[in-house]
């Protein structure tokens, strides 16, 4: 089965678009939890590029698949850490009564 050249790139291109979208989200969103979500979108996009470009005739290359699985696991681990940090920060801030997620210990 031959895939038309343009369609063969469909998923990777979607991946590229997701990366761009996620990046835009990261820049334009302020709340860390949303940024975390945006990062996940970027990650998904990258995986799609990686997997989509490994699409062969009939099967998809297992090599990128393995890389993607590793990537997904790493990504969820990091997301969990991020989420935990965000909640702990909120708790601490509540205890201290300040309100910003920007580090406060700046300069003199």
């Amino acid at each position: 089965m031959t895939i038309s050249t343009s369609l063969g790139h469909l998923f990777p291109l979607t991946g590229a678009a997701l990366v761009g979208l996620g990046l835009f989200g990261f820049i334009s969103l302020r709340h860390p939890l949303r940024q975390l979500l945006a990062v996940n979108v970027i990650g998904a996009g990258i995986f799609l590029i990686l997997g989509g470009l490994g699409r062969g005739e009939g099967v998809t290359d297992p090599y990128p698949q393995a890389l993607v699985i590793t990537g997904i696991v790493v990504s969820v681990a990091l997301t969990a850490v991020g989420a935990a940090m965000i909640t702990r920060l909120a708790e601490e801030r509540r205890a201290a009564g300040t309100a910003s997620d920007q580090p406060k210990d700046q300069g003199p």
Partner: protein
């Protein structure tokens, strides 16, 4: 058995052990230190072409481990830092009766994770494997940074995440394009086409975030300044180096044929700006640890300033050695400095530079450690920092790069300006503040590191020799592994 495996496996085993042991986890450092130092020594002593494939799986697919000059210099240095920091932290992160904290328990597994991760990073040539190691190190680093300030830790975490993903994007493009992510193979096959260039670009940019090169350094000072002293030491000394080493490998090994001089100068320019900017900000700081953190920003600039100098040099071995020696010297000195700063600040229960008054009298050894580290960081002889800057300056002058030479000189002077300020405050006053005596081991750690950083200045020839070792590229000959079993 080979140190190439054990250097990664042993810390991970210690991580597991420390999780299982729980309360007594800190004692493991007493076993880990000699073991890891011995392994590092073994690594250095390996024959020049030492390399092997993990599980003997052939290259396009498998993962190649090797002991090149970079690894042989940085792995032992990293080990030294970890050992010193570990011994120092043995007091700080100990579960005290009745007041056990999460930190006392989790610091140790994180330390080993970081240790294993950075060793893995220095030893592998596989770019995806590097991604995993970066994440190992970043994860531990973020957790350690968050121990000081959650806000700073979160900031670091998010931006590092973006950096990691940028790197991963590049790896994805390369994997798809070349069907391999091994640096040694890429060195043979790489073509200067758009995907490759974009891949290098995003990977480099992502790593620059992790290495905190100006102007992407914003996360570093708050995170490094706020963390507990041992954590700061590791963050500034070890963590940022990994990203740099990967960039070095990408630019001078995997894509040596692809990278253009303009890009070299761009990186060099950013390095120069980092030196100036970091130094000026450091001068402005009132808090000791902020100052040291900004010094890291500045010092990292030197690593990148070296890029154009290496690529243009008639004899690249010298600037190449210079940049590695600088990495090593900065590692040792910065770790020493953070540890010493930690001791001093704890003693006076303050954080400002002005709180240090009279400490030279009260805790001479800590101040000495700080001073020795400052000497190396400023690049004053005799020290590793001097050797590095000397070679860089030599290269810059040789190539007639007035701008780089000027930045090197000015950077050194600015370094003296900010590093001698805390020292001079420590020397001030006539009455010595009363401070609690520190455990000798804690003082010995920074002192030993700083002394080593200084002592590096005497071993210039050896360092150059070591650093110029390059592992055999994959295609250069049959690999020690039998193909495909």
């Amino acid at each position: 058995m080979s140190p190439l495996d054990l250097l990664v496996a042993a810390p991970l085993a210690f991580m597991v052990a420390s999780l299982v042991v729980g309360r007594g986890g800190r004692w493991l450092i007493l076993a880990a230190s000699p073991a890891m130092l011995a392994l590092s020594a073994w690594l250095v002593a390996l024959p020049p072409d030492a390399a092997h494939l993990v599980g003997d799986w052939e290259l396009p697919l498998g993962i190649l481990l090797r002991a090149d000059g970079v690894a042989r210099l940085l792995v032992p240095a990293t080990s030294l830092c970890f050992v010193a920091v570990g011994l120092y932290a043995w007091h700080e992160f100990s579960p005290k009766s009745g007041r056990e904290t999460a930190r006392a328990h989790t610091f140790w597994p994180l330390l080993y994770l970081m240790w294993g991760g950075s060793n893995a990073g220095y030893l592998t040539t596989d770019l995806f494997n590097l991604y995993v190691t970066i994440e190992m190190v970043s994860l531990a680093a973020v957790a350690m940074a968050a121990m000081g300030s959650l806000a700073a830790g979160l900031q670091y975490f998010l931006i590092a995440l973006v950096g990691s993903l940028a790197y991963l994007l590049g790896v994805a493009l390369l994997a798809a394009h070349y069907d391999t992510v091994d640096a040694t193979l890429l060195a043979i096959h790489a073509r200067p086409d758009l995907p490759t260039l974009l891949a290098i670009t995003v990977m480099t940019a992502g790593l620059l975030v992790k290495t905190a090169l100006f102007p992407l350094h914003g996360w570093l000072p708050p995170a490094h300044a706020a963390a507990p002293a041992p954590a700061s030491a590791l963050l500034s000394a070890v963590v940022v180096k990994l990203g740099f080493v990967i960039i070095l490998r990408l630019w001078f090994e995997a894509f040596a044929e692809v990278v253009r001089p303009a890009a070299m100068h761009l990186l060099g320019g950013m390095g120069a700006l980092a030196i100036l900017y970091g130094s000026i900000q450091a001068i402005r700081q009132e808090r000791l640890k902020s100052l040291v953190a900004y010094s890291t920003v500045a010092q990292l600039g030197y690593l990148f300033l070296a890029f154009p100098l290496i690529s243009n040099a008639p004899n690249p071995a010298e600037p190449w050695a210079a940049v590695l020696v600088h990495a090593v010297a900065h590692m040792l000195a910065k770790a020493a400095m953070f540890l010493a700063a930690g001791l001093m600040l704890k003693a006076v229960a303050g954080e400002r530079i002005s709180d240090l008054a009279g400490l030279a009298r009260a805790m001479p050894l800590s101040v000495t450690a700080f001073a020795l580290a400052a000497i190396s960081l400023t690049g004053l002889p005799p020290s590793g920092g001097f050797t590095a800057k000397f070679l860089l300056l030599h290269a810059a002058i040789e190539q007639g790069s007035v701008v780089y030479a000027a930045v090197l000189v000015i950077g050194g002077l600015l370094g003296a300006v900010y590093l001698f300020r805390p020292l001079s405050v420590a020397c001030s006053g006539s009455a010595a503040p009363v401070v609690k005596a520190e455990a000798p081991l804690r003082v010995a750690a920074p002192l030993a590191l700083a002394a080593l950083a200084v002592a590096l200045g005497f071993a210039g020839m050896m360092l150059i020799e070591l650093s110029s070792l390059s592992a055999p590229p994959a295609a250069a000959g049959p690999l020690p592994a039998e193909p495909g079993r």
